[in-house]
């Protein structure tokens, strides 16, 4: 792995300093970096570990546990489609297939034009409105083919 560039370190240091003295500072720091960059560049792990006097393994274990701490930048939009049991039973499979076609990406991928990243999610707590999804933090319920097309149009615009 490449060592983190000076620029990268300069930009994360304020985030680390903001939380370092708090109790349990690792997750707030990672969230702060996620807000700032939209992902958690893996090169910053040694810097965080050093600042908090943790091992690199300690930090890596936490970072790799949470799917949201992605290693790569996302597209301009992030669409999370629920793939859990309730949504599957309400036609989620068809919607998933349709959305992948419309967006031209598979799960876990970002479209070539950088417009959207599609991710699976396992339950948004919205089973009553299944199948459900979340676009850039906003939940959408009762997905069907029409709504899928609407979403595709929105992220492409």
């Amino acid at each position: 792995m490449q060592p983190a560039s000076t620029d990268l370190i300069t930009s994360i240091m304020p985030i680390i300093d903001r939380w370092k003295q708090e109790e349990g500072p690792l997750l707030p720091i990672l969230n702060g970096i996620l807000r700032e960059f939209g992902y958690v560049p893996r090169e910053v792990i040694p810097t965080i570990a050093d600042a908090l006097n943790l091992s690199r393994a300690d930090v890596y274990g936490v970072v790799s546990f949470y799917h949201d701490y992605r290693a790569e930048p996302t597209g301009r939009h992030v669409l999370k489609l629920c793939r859990a049991e309730a949504c599957q039973s309400m036609g989620g499979d068809a919607v998933a297939e349709r959305l992948q076609q419309l967006l031209g990406v598979r799960f876990g991928e970002t479209s070539i034009d950088g417009s959207v990243t599609l991710e699976p999610v396992y339950c948004l707590g919205l089973c009553a409105c299944a199948p459900s999804a979340m676009l850039d933090g906003e939940v959408i319920g009762r997905l069907d083919e029409a709504k899928a097309a609407e979403i595709a149009a929105e992220v492409r615009s």
């Binding site: 792990i45 570990a49 943790l54 091992s55 690199r56 393994a57 300690d58 790799s64 546990f65």
Partner: protein, 957 residues
């Protein structure tokens, strides 16, 4: 011969005094409160199936095999995480539990290779556990998603990972892993490195080193704790994979550092398969480091010399001879030398690497056979000031505690020691206590790992200038007296009050205040004051020190200053406190105990004492000289002067380890018969006339005494490849010199030691075989030894405070030599490296590097990795630079593990005023860019190469 098997109780023992009684499977069991049900059951002989539990680590409760039922409670809790409670009735085996366990195990087995070789060999618990829970078939089959197969449905399997073979000693095969986390916990809880983690989650989760790096590039220090903990075949020693599982084992003691870890040597025939730390070992409690666990390959290295050799001149090639010829030659030469040059013209050097029994024989040979006291030991160059300083203040020449004591310590003060590198297993035990909340003060010119390492951070690091220990320690005392932090009750009861008052008046003088000494030490006074307050008021405070204290012109003074601090604050005579020298070599304590010094008979009794001499005179049937003999430096001086001609050196490389290499070389070259007794043709052997092959710790019986005075058994697991154990060689040499020695076994030598030495009176091999180990004094008053000394009063009666005036060393920086060089050790290598350089430990440390601060490097135009010349007024050498801010500006640091570096060409002849211990830790030097080896290094290498030629004897017809 059989395997030494240890019971795994599943969870650590509880330390509670309150007892709880419960019923397990109808058996009434009484255990301490806080014990897990799993452990209580095991103590009652009931084995609950388990995969993720191990009594070295806290319970975790992830494998779900160890479920039990408790009458009147719901569910099936894990027995490892459920503590015992008064009166509960536990069932470990019911139909319901059996069915749950089979279900769990079935899932595990569906993701475990059917052809796991470790399972087949009995090195993987999976098949055994499957059998134990009664799993006979698997409904899930091998075709679902799994981590096992490289190919899945004709495609590459995204879950499959290749083995990681990067570590030279063990292999990690993710396909066999069940992610039970035992390795992760061992790395954190036991070793304290935190190099491992679980990556990802759910079915994706996997054990990873650092950031999913190869093990070798991760933070891993290769201690082996994870391999030992792994219940599957995922982490295995490469030697086991290559050679197969061991067939028998014996408990023995590691021959590296002064921690003295107990190991099981696991064998196939006469071949070591692996060394596994022994949980009942009271020094290491089941833990190990990369050296003891893995770096034993030198024992069978091709460089080992197996036949005796002689040569008339050191410029001749070696001639292999028979043992008898070698002994006859030595006897003839030593007799000739004594006839020609006088009785005092010969002497011997004992080894801190050999057993107590062997050391005892060498000093006996010198005293009884040579008829003089010209015997010394390598402890001269390391801990002789400890012996002197602690004897003057407390009355014994040894550390005051056992290692377990650290578990009760609230404030740890480390000075001039680097435990995580030089005494790694104790370092791990110390770090464990620090993670539990003990405070830490580090006094060291260099930022050692302990100052800041994951989950451990020193409260104070006082980075003093090399050579100013006494000023610093006296300043700490100043604060303690000035601010009224003295434990007056302790001092009045236990110490000499007049001496205390004299000392208190001395340390109170304004020139000893932290403000005043700042100009020598370079450490801000406020930091010193804060550290002193913490040491004096933080609860149980213990001092751990090493060669950074002793190897100075004021080494003995510094030891006394440390002893003063502990007395003044009442930190002596109970668990958790004390003064603890971290001894360098496996048996440096023992070699000192055994009368290796020219002025002392075994048990630190002065040679001038008539009663003591009488004991030996009547037993040995000779008159002993009542005058102390020559120390190593005196022997070399006398050799250069022409009055010292013959030397028997057992297991020490004085040319590499003693100061001022050129002077040592000149001394050796001036002798007429140098006998080197060692495993390898070491550097000293380049100047030898007789070479006697030595034996390794695996090839002999005996005892080593570690830094906590613990006498540990060394057990023979193979015949000496050189034919004779070292004690037999010394004995045969004595016989050739006409002495009537007839020991059949080292136990008889120990019996003689016990008979003649009051502090060892109770020690015998029988006792050690029964109780494992004892700490001396071991006699009528303490039949099982003495873990903590000075409990009810000091050995010398009243503890004695001694004034410790700071006298700056004569070794000063100036325009020609503006930097201070100090030296140290690294984890993977050991001392002069004769052993570790002959193992795969070279992977971690190929060469010695010179650490230099970026400012000093920049001034000299030195870049990281450049060759630099390191020069002092004694000599010069060259090595490559490492630029780091671990050292302060003005200080440079190197290790001394490689003979090519020859760091001791640079060190000077200054030494401790009381004991002649060389001042290795301070040398004024200059560093400049260089193209490669210096002239001395080239000449030396040529000479060494010429000197190592061997003419092999024709095999007998």
């Amino acid at each position: 011969m059989c395997m030494v098997n240890e019971i795994d109780y599943g969870t650590p023992a509880s330390k509670s005094d309150r007892m709880v009684t419960l019923t397990i499977d109808g058996k009434v069991v009484t255990v301490p409160e806080g014990t897990s049900i799993m452990r209580a059951a095991r103590e009652a002989g009931i084995e609950v199936p388990k995969l993720c539990a191990n009594d070295m680590m806290k319970a975790y409760g992830s494998c779900r095999l160890c479920l039990i039922e408790i009458e009147g409670r719901n569910g099936t809790p894990a027995s490892c995480t459920t503590p015992v409670a008064e009166g509960i009735k536990v069932a470990t085996q019911t139909d319901r539990l059996g069915s749950i366990r089979r279900g769990v195990m079935e899932l595990y087995m569906s993701d475990h290779p059917a052809d796991c070789p470790a399972c087949a060999e009995g090195d993987c618990d999976m098949v055994e556990m499957a059998a134990k829970v009664g799993l006979t078939e698997n409904r899930y089959g091998p075709n679902g998603e799994n981590h096992v197969a490289p190919l899945l449905h004709g495609d590459t399997n995204p879950h499959f990972r290749e083995q990681d073979l990067s570590n030279p000693y063990f292999a990690y095969d993710p396909a066999k892993c069940i992610v039970c986390s035992l390795c992760v916990r061992a790395c954190g809880e036991v070793q304290g490195t935190f190099a491992l983690t679980v990556e990802g989650r759910g079915f994706e989760s996997r054990i990873a080193a650092s950031m999913d790096d190869p093990f070798l590039e991760s933070e891993c220090v290769s201690c082996g704790a994870c391999v030992q903990a792994c219940p599957t075949g995922a982490l295995r020693e490469k030697t086991v994979i290559e050679k197969g599982m061991p067939e028998w084992s014996a408990v023995t003691t590691c021959a590296y550092c002064g921690v003295g870890c107990t190991f099981k040597a696991e064998m196939r025939g006469e071949e070591v398969v692996r060394m596994v730390p022994y949980k009942e070992g009271q020094a290491n409690r089941g833990h190990s480091c990369v050296k003891g666990r893995f770096a034993w390959g030198y024992a069978t290295h091709k460089d080992r010399i197996l036949n005796p050799m002689i040569r008339e001149k050191i410029t001749d090639p070696w001639q292999e001879v028979s043992w008898d010829e070698a002994f006859a030659y030595i006897a003839k030469e030593f007799r000739r030398l004594q006839y020609q040059y006088g009785k005092g013209s010969v002497g011997g050097i004992t080894s801190s690497r050999c057993t107590n029994e062997e050391t005892y024989l060498v000093q006996k040979l010198v005293r009884q056979g040579f008829g003089n006291n010209n015997v010394d030991t390598c402890a001269r160059v390391c801990h002789s000031p400890t012996g002197y300083g602690l004897r003057m203040t407390y009355g014994t020449s040894a550390g005051t505690q056992d290692f377990d004591s650290v578990e009760h310590t609230d404030v740890v003060l480390v000075i001039g020691a680097n435990p995580t590198d030089a005494h790694p297993v104790f370092g791990s035990r110390m770090k464990k206590r620090l993670r539990e909340g003990a405070r830490l003060i580090v006094i060291d010119p260099r930022r050692i790992d302990l100052v800041r390492t994951p989950h451990v951070q020193a409260d104070y690091h006082l980075p003093l200038r090399p050579g100013t220990n006494v000023a610093m320690l006296t300043a700490l005392a100043h604060v303690i007296v000035e601010e009224g932090l003295v434990d007056e009750q302790f001092v009045r009861e236990r110490c000499d009050w007049d001496a205390f008052q004299d000392w208190a008046e001395f340390v109170l003088q304004p020139e000893h205040s932290p403000e005043a000494v700042e100009k020598y030490t370079g450490v801000p006074a406020e930091q010193v004051r804060a550290a002193a307050r913490l040491y004096a008021t933080g609860g149980n405070a213990a001092i751990y020190y090493g060669l950074g204290v002793t190897e100075h012109s004021q080494g003995s003074t510094a030891v006394m200053a440390i002893a003063n601090l502990a007395m003044a604050t009442g930190n002596i005579g109970r668990p958790g406190v004390g003064v603890n020298p971290l001894r360098g070599q496996n048996n440096v304590q023992g070699s000192c105990d055994m009368g290796s010094f020219p002025h002392e008979l075994p048990g630190y009794r002065h040679i001038a004492d008539d009663a003591t001499r009488a004991v030996y005179e009547s037993l040995w049937g000779v008159k002993l000289d009542n005058e102390p003999g020559l120390r190593i430096p005196n022997m070399l001086d006398a050799a250069v002067d022409g009055s010292f001609k013959g030397l028997y050196v057992q297991g020490e490389d004085i040319l590499q380890s003693d100061p001022n290499t050129k002077h040592v070389a000149a001394g050796l070259a001036a002798m007429e018969c140098v006998v080197v007794h060692d495993l390898f043709l070491n550097e000293t052997a380049n100047y030898a006339h007789v070479f006697l092959p030595g034996s390794t710790f695996l090839e002999k019986d005996g005892t080593f005494t570690n830094a906590e005075r613990r006498i540990n058994r060394v057990r023979k697991v193979m015949e000496p490849k050189n034919k004779y154990a070292d004690w037999e060689v010394t004995q045969k040499m004595a016989q050739a010199l006409g002495l009537d020695w007839n020991y059949q076994h080292p136990s008889e030598i120990m019996d003689e030691i016990a008979k003649t030495t009051p502090t060892f009176a109770g020690v015998s091999f029988d006792l050690l075989d029964r109780v494992g180990s004892v700490q001396w004094p071991c006699n009528e008053k303490a039949p099982l030894g003495t873990p903590v000394m000075h409990m009810d009063g000091f050995v010398r009666g009243k503890g004695r405070f001694i004034r410790t005036a700071y006298v700056p060393t004569d070794e000063k920086v100036g325009p020609r030599f503006p930097l201070l060089l100090t030296t140290g050790r690294i984890l993977s290598q050991y001392n002069v490296g004769a052993q570790t350089r002959r193992t795969a430990n070279m992977t971690w440390h190929e060469e010695d590097r010179l650490e230099i601060h970026p400012n000093d490097a920049e001034d000299r135009g030195i870049r990281d990795g450049d060759y630099v010349k390191l020069a002092s007024r004694s000599g010069e050498t060259s090595l490559r630079a490492r630029i780091t801010d671990r050292v302060a500006p003005g200080v440079v640091y190197t290790t001394f593990h490689h003979p090519d570096t020859q760091a001791n060409v640079v060190t000077t002849e200054y030494s401790d005023w009381a004991t002649n211990c060389p001042e290795y830790k301070v040398t004024a030097v200059q560093v400049s860019p260089s193209n490669g080896p210096t002239e001395w290094q080239r000449d030396y290498n040529d000479q060494a190469k010429r000197s190592r030629r061997i003419v092999h004897a024709e095999p007998a017809e």
